[in-house]
């Protein structure tokens, strides 16, 4: 089982308290009725499916209830860091700092 750090609880908690929420930072179109079919398809279904660093949403469902974002390496399954929802993607320097 993985331990995941919830940025709201500021604590490492067991994976089974969490649910996965798919890729993070997918921006919902401001005006869905003006998007083309292709744009709407991309928004709904097309994901980066990264091999390596992946930015993704998690929810501390059986804890504080909050959605937050995580950076996880899809090869090693190791979490690099987690951060609160609404914050921008951490940059390379932040990821390096979190790794060390």
């Amino acid at each position: 089982m993985l331990l995941i750090r919830c940025p709201y609880c500021a604590a490492e908690r067991p994976e089974l308290e969490f649910t996965y929420g798919g890729e993070a930072h997918i921006v919902r179109p401001q005006n869905p009725s003006s998007t083309t079919d292709d744009e709407w398809r991309d928004f709904l279904y097309i994901r980066s499916n990264a091999r390596g660093i992946h930015y993704e949403r998690w929810r501390h469902m059986h804890g504080c209830g909050r959605f937050f974002n995580a950076v996880r390496d899809t090869v090693t399954d190791k979490f690099v860091m987690t951060y609160k929802a609404g914050l921008p993607r951490p940059d390379q320097a932040e990821l390096e700092a979190a790794r060390s």
Partner: protein, 184 residues
């Protein structure tokens, strides 16, 4: 409605027991959702400090308040104070957006106490119980049932669990207590 309390009359306790389990007497329970910026107003209505950070727990004069999320509090009070609390928060609606929901009907309290209480809970909860601060509370999972776990003292815990899972949680812990007793 309390006649259906699934744990009425049960207890697993003795003067030499390493873990004692008892159902908690009926009490008033609420979930309070409010913007943390308005916590002072809510504390005034509650009549005591509401803990400001997730995991915080304040226990005083028969009342318990624990912060289980950034804007969510679990409140426990004597049954006799239920109406007064509800009407006081009712007046707060006029000035402050919040939500106070009576969840007393759905939860059952179980105390788990004794020198091996940590071991008993650790047997079926996946995070480090020994590292849980005394005077803290959180929502978590025991086996597969969601609970709210309060640590009131080094050897004193309280579980709040939904009625429908209470029997399962009780029997599971009772089995674990029996193993501890037998030194398995």
């Amino acid at each position: 409605m309390h006649t259906h309390h699934p744990l009425v009359g049960r207890a697993l306790a003795g003067p030499h027991a390493r873990v004692n389990m008892r159902p908690v007497e009926d009490c008033a329970r609420f979930i309070l959702r409010i913007d943390p910026q308005n916590l002072a107003a809510a504390s005034t209505i509650w009549g005591g400090n509401l803990p400001p950070t997730t995991g915080g727990l304040v226990s005083a004069s028969g009342r318990i308040a624990t912060c289980i999320g950034p804007d969510e509090w679990y409140l426990i009070a004597p049954l006799a104070e239920q109406d007064a609390i509800e009407s006081a928060f009712g007046e707060l609606y006029a000035t402050t957006i919040h939500s106070l929901v009576d969840v007393g009907h759905r939860e059952v309290g179980i105390t788990v106490e004794g020198p091996e209480a940590v071991l008993a809970l650790q047997a079926t909860i996946a995070f480090d119980i020994a590292a849980m601060p005394v005077g803290s509370g959180c929502r978590t999972i025991i086996d597969k049932a969601q609970i709210i776990l309060l640590r009131q003292g080094p050897d004193s815990f309280r579980i709040e669990v939904w009625h429908s899972f209470a029997d399962h949680v009780w029997n599971l812990l009772a089995g674990i207590c029996r193993e501890i007793e037998l030194g398995v």
